[in-house]
């Protein structure tokens, strides 16, 4: 069996359309974040979360009612949702932290929530299977740590690819990765997933994973630059993408299989994580094909233009001149 045998698509022709599409998604994401906001999970927002497992199937409405009536700090701000797989009879209640920073009293809120539920006889008996209490001071610290982790890993990848290939390739790979992160966050905003530590972990994993496809394509570009010195850079990039298209789609497919298995069977805690991975894998493949190479051609042309004698010279000619460079720069 063979996927994309002798594929010959002109990917570079569509690159600006692709870039436009990406911008549409990213701007839509920003718009959603600006209007609806990115819901923050308990680790980032602070607060108290309680998961109660009832003896009989509870109704989310009834739990909310009980909170409105009996919860002393006001049930209006409470988030109530069913938890776990259908039939697990679990409900999660999340409320903001009251009297934050008074450390020893951290548990009073969760006790108040439990008390409010216990007061309502209609709900039946329940046991608390999970209790999470986070004071807001921890969450601020986590945010800056998370952002640093992104920035540093991007710099690390930039440095590594510059070392193994050259700067223009590294810029292409890092822009593609940045693109993947933005698109992934946009999708998280569309579907209003809570930003949790697990999701941050998934996004960081996408950061590492999405460069993989890009590297495979770049590797082929490097090889073709060496064996087809006379062709234009655009032709070489197009040919390289086509030659590797089968494996790009296949490798994404196998990883996607695992991520989907996690999404469907991995349980409530991992749902946001696996959703992020699925989006990240798809956009990572897309960006490797459409974004990364486009950035390489753009970056190189920009670099060449000032030194070029005739500004009207065809772009391909200047790219061709550049095409020889990697051979000298690279020894492998």
């Amino acid at each position: 069996m063979r996927l994309f045998k002798n594929a010959n698509y002109d990917f570079l022709r569509w690159r600006w359309h692709a870039v436009a599409l990406s911008w549409v998604v990213i701007i839509a994401g920003i718009a959603v974040i600006a209007t609806k906001g990115l819901p923050r999970g308990i680790e980032f927002a602070g607060g108290t979360g309680v998961v109660a497992e009832f003896d009989r199937e509870p109704s989310v409405e009834a739990v909310r009612d009980a909170l409105n009536r009996n919860y002393q700090f006001g049930g209006q701000d409470a988030i109530v949702q069913s938890y776990g797989n259908p039939g697990s009879r679990q409900v999660m209640v999340r409320v903001p932290q009251v009297g934050a920073e008074q450390g020893t009293d951290l548990a009073t809120v969760s006790a108040a929530v439990e008390g409010a539920l216990r007061k309502d006889a209609n709900l039946g008996t329940f046991t608390i299977v999970k209790r999470e209490i986070v004071s807001p001071s921890v969450s601020g610290q986590l945010q800056s740590k998370g952002i640093w982790a992104f920035v540093l890993s991007l710099i690390g990848i930039l440095a590594y690819i510059t070392f193994r290939f050259q700067l223009s390739f590294a810029v292409g790979a890092v822009v593609a990765t940045l693109h993947d992160i933005l698109v992934t966050v946009a999708f998280l905003a569309f579907f209003q997933y809570d930003m949790t530590l697990n999701i941050i972990a998934a996004i960081l994993t996408v950061t590492g994973y999405s460069t993989n496809d890009t590297i495979v394509i770049f590797d082929r570009v490097r090889e073709n630059l060496r064996s087809h010195r006379r062709d234009s850079l655009n032709d070489i990039i197009n040919r390289s993408i086509n030659q590797t298209l089968g494996r790009t789609v296949l490798t994404a497919g196998t990883t996607l299989l695992s991520a989907i298995a996690l999404y469907v069977f991995g349980g409530e805690v991992l749902r946001g994580f696996s959703f992020t991975m699925i989006v990240g894998i798809v956009t990572g493949t897309y960006s490797s094909v459409f974004v990364a190479a486009a950035i390489v051609t753009f970056w190189r042309r920009k670099q060449v233009r000032p030194s070029s004698a005739a500004p009207s010279a065809p772009a391909e000619a200047s790219a061709q001149k550049q095409g020889r460079k990697p051979r000298r720069a690279r020894a492998s």
């Binding site: 497992e53 797989n85 450390g103 020893t104 951290l106 548990a107 608390i128 299977v129 999970k130 209790r131 999470e132 209490i133 004071s135 001071s137 921890v138 610290q141 998370g146 640093w148 992104f150 540093l152 890993s153 690390g156 990848i157 590594y160 193994r164 530590l197 697990n198 941050i200 972990a201 960081l204 994993t205 950061t207 590492g208 994973y209 460069t211 993989n212 590297i215 495979v216 590797t244 089968g246 494996r247 296949l250 490798t251 497919g253 196998t254 990883t255 299989l257 695992s258 991520a259 298995a261 996690l262 069977f265 991995g266 349980g267 805690v269 991992l270 994580f273 696996s274 991975m277 492998s332």
Partner: protein, 518 residues
């Protein structure tokens, strides 16, 4: 050629055997994280300001007594912040400076201000004090948790002033928390007067002016459980100076008082006992208070000279047990506040394990099916390599003693997807070489050798991201970063070395190979 293959097979089998030995049986050898096992996860902040405040207050007290000995008058001498005190209206500046040089200036920086001086703790001393406080708090918590008898607890420092405590299998969160965070500062001080029903009443009794060497402390709280003796809560005026402190206890043990109520018996260390003996002898007839964490636990009139033992009574049985633990483990140098608390019930952990295992099986089955359909017999090769990868991953996790968490299971499942990618790249390259008309053996060799550098690049860039992920994360996320990292490394071995060995094993004896099932 054959000898080479034999050596490769031997190495592969040895690695797999070692891995299986390391993780079998899985439920005993693999550490499970709190999110899978159930338990309590706590993050505490050490209020290091407490240590500075107590240093400042001690210095102020010391200076006061020096000044009164030297006959120096002042209008104001008091702590103005945790790390700062101020003195004003001095009658004799030179005498004060001599006293301050001896009592304060090794620790405090002096600033002259209008009408007096402000003393502030030196920055390096403050840092050292904070550092010591956190280290000491960590040790004390360790001792207390050990007394609790929890299996495999985690007590670790996190950042500058935070302490992480993980107690697997503990369900009584409230008790664990109060045990860990009660400062347990035990003091013996003379009681001037009391009890008064309110703080105001206590102040009224001294005409609103509290002597400088005294303070008002509340009495003990009402015991929570009913039926136990609950002495009235009140307020006492007590001396600030403590005769003996909890650090000078030799032992503490549960016992009964003369009315058969629970009590904590304690004995004092030798030099404290001598001091206590003289003190009680000269103060016969006066009331002595036992003060725990700034609460007057009990007041008794000194009947006779007490040497080295005593008891704390008027407490419930639970309180008695907790008190013995906290007294034995020593006082905390500063108070603690809870920043984060997470309790996971054991049933939830079991659910997580179950869904993780299901996801792993489904993921493996889907990958196997896909590889067999697309690559036919060569797909078997990739799946064998993949299974080897997973075995090595589990083996290393168990051998090094890493903890498996729920995100770790996610890392395990993702390793399947990412792991098989390497073989896809190699097989696609082999196909390409075959298309160019190369022989089977030559194509396989070219496929493996040409893709190896690419694989190295992709794996290293993924490892860079995983390393920063590890840096960023706590507990569960670290578990994920670890499985991902180990999975990537072992994958490089299985997808190139093991998979190549399998090809050679199959093709080995045949001289001419016409076709490859790929």
């Amino acid at each position: 050629m054959m000898k080479n293959v034999r050596w490769r097979v031997a190495l592969t089998v040895a690695v797999i055997a070692l891995s299986v030995w390391a993780f079998y049986p899985l439920d005993k050898k693999l550490n499970l994280g709190l999110d899978l096992k159930g338990g309590v996860h706590l993050v505490l902040r050490v209020q290091t300001d407490d240590a500075l405040r107590s240093e400042t207050e001690t210095t102020v007290e010391r200076l006061r007594s020096s000044l009164s000995r030297a006959g120096v008058q002042y209008t104001k001498l008091e702590a103005t912040a945790a790390d700062e005190f101020r003195v004003e209206g001095l009658s004799n500046d030179d005498a004060f400076r001599t006293a301050a040089a001896a009592d304060a200036e090794s620790v405090f920086d002096r600033n002259s201000g209008a009408g007096g001086y402000t003393y502030k703790i030196k920055p390096n001393v403050a840092n050292q004090l904070r550092e010591e406080t956190v280290a000491q708090a960590l040790q004390t918590i360790e001792r207390r948790v050990n007394e609790l008898g929890v299996a495999e607890p985690v007590i670790a420092r996190q950042g500058a002033d935070q302490i992480l405590v993980e107690l697997p299998g503990v369900s009584d969160v409230a008790r664990a928390k109060s045990l860990i965070s009660s400062t347990a500062v035990l003091q013996f001080r003379l009681v001037e007067n009391g009890p008064f029903p309110t703080q105001e009443a206590a102040l009224d009794s001294v005409n609103k002016v509290l002597p400088a060497d005294s303070e008002i402390l509340p009495g003990r709280q009402e015991a929570a459980s009913s039926g136990s003796p609950t002495p009235a809560t009140g307020f006492y005026i007590v001396k600030k100076v403590s005769v003996v402190t909890g650090n000078e206890l030799r032992s503490a043990s549960p016992g009964l008082d003369q009315f058969n109520r629970p009590a904590v018996q304690f004995t004092l260390k030798q030099d404290a006992a001598v001091r206590f003996g003289t003190f009680t002898q000269t103060n016969i007839g006066k009331p002595l208070g036992i003060i725990l964490d700034k609460r007057v636990m009990s007041v008794a009139t000194i009947q006779d000279r007490i040497v080295d033992n005593g008891q704390i009574n008027g407490i419930t049985r639970d309180e008695m047990q907790n008190l013995v633990i906290t007294l034995k483990s020593g006082a905390l140098p500063a108070s603690l506040t809870y920043l984060e608390e997470q309790t996971i019930g054991p049933s939830l952990g079991e659910d997580s394990i179950r869904s993780g295992v299901t996801a792993s099986i489904v993921g493996l089955a889907a990958t196997t099916l896909f590889m067999l359909l697309y690559y036919r017999l060569s797909g078997v090769n990739a799946i064998v390599a993949l299974v080897c990868n997973l075995i090595i991953l589990l083996g290393l996790m168990a051998y090094v003693g890493f903890t498996m968490t729920l995100p770790g299971i996610a890392g395990f499942v993702l390793t399947m997807g990412i792991g098989v990618d390497s073989n896809v790249l190699i097989f696609e390259r082999i196909k390409e070489e075959l298309d160019l008309g190369r022989g089977v053996r030559a194509s396989i060799n070219a496929g493996f050798s040409r893709v190896f550098l690419t694989l190295l690049d992709t794996h290293i860039s993924a490892l860079i991201a995983a390393a920063f992920l590890f840096q960023f994360g706590t507990g569960p996320i670290r578990g994920f970063a670890l499985t991902l990292t180990i999975g990537l490394i072992s994958n490089l071995f299985t997808s190139t070395f093991v998979s190549k060995t399998l090809f050679e094993l199959v093709l080995g004896r045949r001289q001419q190979v016409a076709a490859l099932s790929i």
